[in-house]
Symmetry: C2
Subunit: 487 residues, 2 copies
């Protein structure tokens, strides 16, 4: 289905002008230009400043009308009452798209709401599209476009985001950045005077560079259009929604924030289920599920095989898998025999497979491979990766015997064992075509998430969860989407 | 009430012998001795090794009977069939306490179960106490005693832990270590052939160095004694319980792990509520709630004041507070006026207090102080700390204008503002005597949890949560315990 508006000037502009550019770093007109330059955007950039003074060492222009070319995209950071004039200038210059960062529109009062309507009307008349107002800007990583008030400088990736809150979206951008995962496009949609939530969703749905769509909703102005857009996109790619304002208290906070109208949570939830939208409970789950859906195969069923390097974690993981509505199949005799051939006699003889302690290099990887290749499971969960590495880090720092050659040998064994497990996971995800939820308590004590096996996984786009509950929530969402896709 | 057994030889021994000490680093008899020495224990340490060879450069003894003094504590790492003899030697030497790390007892089979019973009987006869068998060991930070198969080297602190899983306990030890929080005592209680879960709980209850008791339960052998112990401790200090094996699948995994019997979840939950035990849903919540209860004042009610540096986070926090059963009081005119006197006109005029953007140093701290001192709230939640710091880190790394003096000035402002907020929180927790749940998405993207304001809080024993849900869960648990204490 054709889109109502072509949003490519927002995400693939060949030139950008920044209206309201200034040398004063306390103003958004500075930050946005600064971030655009810092992000490495390769198109033409034109600062527009009333006084025409040089901005960040660049020549500026007193008005859009004075620019040497028609900019594909105008980022607008002037005071609210000056925005209308900017739109007129852009229209006169033959421009096609503006993104208005300026606030003080419908979120501020009745008079300002009128101004917002007038702006949208003018734009429609002139054949312009407008993003915002009161939005924090947009990102398009493939053209290194970071037109944002504050944000990370993400590498390209398959996840695109539309957020009705700039900082909530920023949380996802920063988290992805620090864990090294890529992002495709991002927009902080603001008041959506013209281009609406559903327009972005439909655009991401058609975008060949996007395979997962994230949506943060606070103010659902056009429910039916939103559901229609999702209905279109969901069969092709997952739409993951986090909704703020579910409770009376949250909705009241949203009214102050974006002037949101209350939406019944029951109705919203039912509609999501019907359309196949994946709702998540918080930012952590949104991030985890997005990364997993973007980079791992969908499970063909709800049966989970768990491998653990410690009994207690296995018990908590079995609880989590069951509480999240997934199944834990029993090991058949054939698989039991395979394990008993090389594991010490006191292994768990159960799913979770508890290795207890390994004494031969590669035992964990070999055990994981048996479980992963077994046709009785559709998804895998792995617990305890990095625990050994972490112990070794401590003893290599503090041990009075750190030069003892035997101790060094054991430390090397532990590090190699953890690393060979990480490498096996990266290989197996592809070979067996099943998703892996890796959970490591090394991620809870965040400082040491820099452990080599965890970094290895993240470098191969496999997120490591902190707890079995987090991992089970991810697998459940993947199974939900697999079922949605199948229908 | 007097304890059934004096457990001080476990946690305050003046001398420790390690039976089964070896120079082979793949054996527990090496790891435990190594960790004991590495931890810096100052009492006498005696390796016991059949062959009497030097272990890790120390003289060893062929048997406990040959030791130059009676050890307060014997750590036992010999094969299962040799343990009984060790207990006899210890009894003959006049010893009082042994902790048996060796496995292969009741968790292994019927014959081994008999052996375990016999061991307990012998110990009782000889007036000895025994920890384990099949436990990973114990920790007592004040005497730098780290008799553990694997673990962190925690600084002293008020949280003590008894865990029916060594690795689950280890997760808490490592997390506390990496975040810089102290731990008091830890025991991996194993099969509890002699000293039981409730003995440790009662001991921690009496221990003046412990103010919060954490319990991981997988195998509740003596339910009534456990509840009695908790009933005794709960009025004095919180008892936080994480239970593994809540589901059929989890219970089945626990049977393989520790031979646990199933306990009805409904009955267990009802008993916990009645006794005032705080149950937590996972390791993250256990850790968060423990740190908060150990280091922050209890709330006098359920009213939460939220301050946010971004609208969307505030909306999610309002939802979280409400979903966790806490209240979000409206701001009275008096407080509104206080804010309006110095905040820009577009502040939220609502709880959550959304500052939108600050332009004067100390605005966040000042706003937080007003909210914290208002008698209408019992607890505080703060969102967005560290977001600015994180942006500045990025631009100081990548900006082509990083030497621009104006930009440096703004960066300094942002860093100072974040830091002054962190300092205000540390001060206010004490001054207003209300708990603060600080939530920062900087903790979600774990790599940058090293940001200065977050480190400042952790250095002052204030944990920073990753999401508003995490923060609300902590505040709810604190309010639950405040009510339990009050009754």
């Amino acid at each position: 289905m054709a889109l109502d508006y072509d949003l490519s000037p927002f995400f693939h502009p060949k030139s950008v002008c920044l209206v309201g550019a200034t040398n004063n770093p306390t103003k958004w007109g500075f930050s946005v230009l600064h971030n655009l330059l810092m992000g490495g955007y390769a198109g033409n950039v034109y600062p527009v400043n009333l006084k025409g003074e040089d901005i960040l060492g660049m020549k500026s222009y007193p008005s859009i009308r004075d620019l040497p070319e028609t900019p594909d995209l105008a980022m607008v950071c002037v005071p609210n009452h000056a925005v209308l004039g900017v739109i007129e200038d852009l229209a006169a210059k033959g421009g096609k798209a503006a993104f208005v960062i300026s606030s003080g529109f419908s979120e501020a009062g009745e008079e300002e709401k009128q101004m917002e309507r007038e702006m949208a009307r003018k734009a429609k008349e002139a054949g312009l599209i407008i993003g915002g107002p009161n939005g924090q800007g947009l990102v398009s990583t493939r053209c290194k476009l970071f037109c944002l008030m504050s944000g990370a400088y993400n590498k390209p990736g398959p996840i695109s985001i539309v957020s009705q809150s700039g900082n909530v979206g920023g949380t996802i951008l920063f988290s992805a950045y620090h864990h090294g995962f890529g992002i495709g496009k991002f927009v902080s949609s603001g008041n959506e005077a013209f281009v609406k939530l559903h327009d972005y969703i439909r655009y991401f749905g058609e975008d060949p560079e996007t395979s997962v769509v994230l949506v943060y909703i606070e103010n659902l102005k056009e429910g039916p259009a939103f559901l229609d857009a999702c209905r279109e996109v969901v069969p092709k790619k997952p739409v993951i929604v986090l909704r703020g304002g579910k409770t009376e208290e949250g909705a009241s906070a949203a009214r102050s924030h974006t002037g949101a109208m209350a939406t019944s949570t029951e109705i919203f939830d039912a509609a999501c289920r019907q359309v196949g939208i994946l709702q998540v409970r918080d930012l952590r789950e949104m991030f985890n599920v997005a990364i997993a859906l973007a980079h791992q195969p969908l499970p063909a069923g709800d049966r989970v095989g768990i491998l653990t390097l410690g009994g207690g974690w296995g018990v908590l993981a079995a609880d989590a898998v069951s509480q999240y509505g997934l199944r834990l199949p029993k090991l058949p005799a054939k698989i039991m025999e395979e394990y008993s051939a090389f594991l010490p006699p006191f292994w768990s003889k159960n799913n979770p497979v508890d290795l207890v302690a390994t004494r031969e290099l590669g035992t964990t990887a070999r055990s994981l491979e048996i479980l992963a290749r077994w046709e009785g499971v559709d998804a895998l969960m792995m617990l305890g990766l990095g625990y050994g590495t972490r112990s070794v880090h401590l003893s290599s720092k503090f041990s009075p015997f750190k030069d003892n050659p035997m101790l060094k040998m054991v430390a090397d064994f532990v590090l190699q064992e953890d690393m060979s497990t990480a490498e096996a996971i990266v290989r197996l995800v592809r070979e067996v075509n099943k998703p892996f939820a890796v959970c490591s308590d090394a991620v809870l004590g965040s400082r040491l998430s820099e452990s080599a096996p965890i970094l290895h996984l993240e470098n191969h786009d496999i997120l490591v969860h902190a707890t079995p509950n987090d991992g089970a929530a991810t697998l459940r969402a993947m199974w939900q989407y697999a079922q949605i896709r199948a229908r």
